[in-house]
């Protein structure tokens, strides 16, 4: 079972992230599922009627505007990084937290590595499924690397220039 980082702790994964080609017919009723965006857009009403938990995941080129009217339906939103140098979902996370008020779990999936975590957390991610060959214990150190930040972001709504002593 994969372990993920959630709120700075390592926890066992209890959700299933389903691949893009998953069809509605193959879904279990009780598992906690993170479904691809296309499945949600096609079967949203039926997915909500299931007993298990519901999350959705978006690929890097998929825009959060397609789900912002349904945020209350998701316990988890996962945003995929096809490469760790693809920064698009940093903006998605910031907007989900600050503009659209999403309060549930916001999870980074895909090519997620230790040296991105600090910035991703600042943008609003609270959960990280590291790439499978990487050690989540080691990655926890990323959260301690900086003791101060200049900009306002999701984690710190007030920029340093309004906080300087």
């Amino acid at each position: 079972m994969q372990r993920i980082i959630k709120n700075g702790q390592i926890v066992d994964e209890s959700w299933h992230v389903l691949p893009k080609e998953t069809t509605f017919e193959e879904l279990s009723n009780c598992d906690d599922l993170i479904v691809p965006l296309s499945l949600w857009l096609e079967h949203g009403r039926a997915l909500k009627a299931r007993d298990g938990g519901l999350g959705v995941w978006l690929d890097a080129e998929e825009e959060i505007e397609s789900i912002v009217d349904s945020l209350d339906d998701f316990q988890v939103i996962a945003l995929n990084f096809p490469a760790f140098t693809d920064g698009r979902h940093s903006s998605s996370a910031y907007l989900l937290r600050t503009r659209y008020g999403f309060q549930g779990e916001l999870r980074a999936i895909g090519d997620v590595l230790r040296d991105q975590l600090w910035a991703l957390k600042r943008c609003g991610f609270d959960a990280f499924a590291l790439r499978e060959d990487k050690d989540p214990e080691d990655a926890l150190k990323a959260f301690e690397e900086f003791s101060e930040v200049y900009q306002a972001s999701s984690d710190q709504p007030v920029p340093l220039f309004r906080r300087r002593a």
Binding site: S90, D138, Y150, Q151, L160, R162
Partner: protein, 552 residues
């Protein structure tokens, strides 16, 4: 200049520790080369042809003498005894060992320096006028705004993996010495009818493979909203800029694809959410930063026109140097002096550790302990007393900084090229040197007058060849190095992109080619007409005819 407080210092020291650990993990195999690459690039560390190249940030080109001495020490201890001034006003070392880089960064942090975001797909060093704060034609001092942008952009969490690199320049003067229209964002200080400060905002300018002059998308952005507006531009770019092709990934391609009007609408729609939020700048913050850029303790002096005229007549060499290498100062009795790093036979922008120490010493004795790097790859002492100019000239001659060629044909902007850079298609330094040797007659150089000659070793355009009055681009033709010549570029207020002259030339032909081009100008010019004026009047055809005549 700006002095770090405990927060700024902490952030830089945290960065040193972080990079030390990243380097350790790379050397121990925990990080692959592919994983380490973006991490080292965001710290200015390239793997070059022979050794790593480390690019040190010099925010908006400003250095204290203490910092210059530290750079000299690093050149001595970790490099082969020299450094290179880049076209982004930064400093580069061509020979450090990868293992030493954390230690170099730790040394830099002791003098409030770093290498943060000097490369990689992030927001780079913000640049400005090398005469900021002393130029007569200045509306505002741009340096506090550059520093405010530096802090906003440093480790901006949302914009650390942009589609491509991102460069911002600020101009506060009537003339544009910062080339703002060929930047991803160019900011020009303006005042409205009520006398309030704002910025004219250009986006989507840039050089590289697809050179474009930027489009102004906002004629008056009130200063309070500078950072939220930058956030809006960057967010639109981060979300919608192309990532499928690195050659189409700069913001200029997005602006062009959407049209500047539509891009501006997108930015405004995003900005509507951010305007008046916490990132809105305050009077207090601007005053706090600006307090670091108040005038030094200038004496009440008079201009020394008579004295200098006498010295000019007694010392023609001084007169020539003064004509080219000094710049009028806003304070009576003062003058700004450019140290030419372009003597013939030295790679343009290169400076040795001993010279750096000498520059620090000169800065302490003549110019309030500060210097500036220019994007033309020279070094400036900005606050020299006119009465001391003659003595300073003597010292500069001893150190090899008094070549009287600033703004002339031999003041060549030149990237490191194929001698160092692994991206280059061709060498650039030997071409610069061959041209300098051909044009070694100072009287002739002075007669030719103002002319920008810019050389890039590949189409990444680090040598800004597109905006040279004469631009030279190294190209690879079946494994052979050739040089394409273009004419008519300008990085000034009337920015324009150079037109390609025609088929490219072999390296050995380049001095002859430049000679022919200059001859056409000399024959065709009217009195008082500079090279670029003549080119704009007569067009490319007469140059083309002359240069290619022998080949047909």
């Amino acid at each position: 200049m700006y002095v770090y407080d405990q927060y700024d210092q902490q952030i830089v020291e945290d960065r040193v520790k972080q990079f030390r650990d990243q380097t350790r993990r790379y050397l121990s195999g925990e990080l692959s080369g592919e994983e380490f690459r973006p991490l080292r690039l965001q710290n200015g560390l390239y793997i070059q042809r022979f050794a790593p190249m480390l690019r040190i940030a010099v925010p908006y080109g400003l250095l204290s003498s203490t910092q210059v001495r530290k750079l000299a020490k690093i050149a001595r201890d970790y490099d082969k005894g020299y450094a290179h001034i880049s076209t982004r006003q930064n400093v580069q070392f061509n020979w450090p060992e990868l293992e030493d880089v954390p230690e170099i960064l730790a040394e830099l942090a002791t003098v409030q320096m770093h290498a943060i975001q000097t490369s990689g797909n992030c927001i780079r060093n913000t640049t400005t006028d090398q005469f900021a704060g002393v130029a007569k034609d200045e509306l505002i001092d741009p340096r506090p705004w550059c520093e405010i942008i530096r802090q906003w952009s440093t480790f901006h969490p949302e914009f650390s993996h942009l589609p491509r690199k991102f460069k911002i320049a600020v101009n506060g003067a009537a003339g544009d010495r910062a080339a703002i229209e060929v930047h991803d964002i160019g900011l020009e200080a303006v005042k409205n009818k009520a006398g309030e400060l704002g910025f004219r905002v250009a986006v989507g300018g840039g050089l590289g493979r697809t050179p474009i002059v930027g489009s102004f998308i906002n004629e008056f952005l009130p200063w309070q909203h500078l950072l939220s507006y930058l956030d809006a531009i960057l967010r639109v770019y981060n979300r919608y800029g192309r990532r499928d092709n690195k050659y189409k990934a700069r913001i200029k391609i997005l602006v062009k694809a959407l049209t500047p009007q539509v891009f501006a609408e997108r930015v405004n729609a995003e900005w509507a959410h951010l305007k008046d939020g916490p990132t809105t700048l305050t009077d207090d913050e601007v005053a706090r930063v600006a307090a670091h850029f108040v005038d030094p303790a200038y004496k009440a002096l008079q201009d020394q026109d008579a004295l200098l005229a006498t010295l000019d007549s007694e010392h023609p060499g001084f007169a020539r140097w003064r004509e080219r290498n000094t710049f009028a100062h806003k304070k009576p009795g003062y003058v700004a002096v450019t140290l030419s790093l372009k003597p013939t036979g030295v790679a343009p922008g290169d400076v040795t550790d001993k010279q750096l120490d000498a520059i620090a010493e000169l800065a302490d004795r003549y110019s309030f302990g500060e210097v500036r790097n220019s994007h033309n790859q020279n070094i400036i002492l900005a606050d020299v007393e006119q009465e001391q100019l003659f003595t300073l000239w003597g010292e500069l001659r001893e150190q090899g900084f008094a070549t009287p060629n600033v703004g002339l044909l031999t003041d060549i902007i030149c990237c490191p090229g194929g001698d160092f850079c692994s991206l280059a298609n061709a060498k650039s330094i030997p071409v610069a040197e061959a041209i300098q040797r051909r044009f070694d007659n100072l009287d002739y150089l002075f007669d030719i007058g103002d002319i920008d000659l810019n050389i890039s070793g590949c189409m990444n355009a680090c040598g800004h060849h597109h905006v040279g009055h004469i631009g030279i681009l190294g190209v690879d033709k079946k494994g052979q190095e050739f040089y394409q010549v273009s004419l008519g570029g300008s990085a000034g207020r009337d920015a324009s992109l150079a037109q390609i002259l025609g088929p490219s030339f072999a390296q050995d032909d380049m001095p002859d080619v430049i000679d022919k081009i200059v001859n056409v100008y000399v024959e065709q010019r009217t009195e008082e007409e500079s090279f670029i004026d003549t080119f704009r009047r007569i067009g490319v055809a007469p140059f083309k005819e002359r240069v290619y005549a022998a080949n047909h």
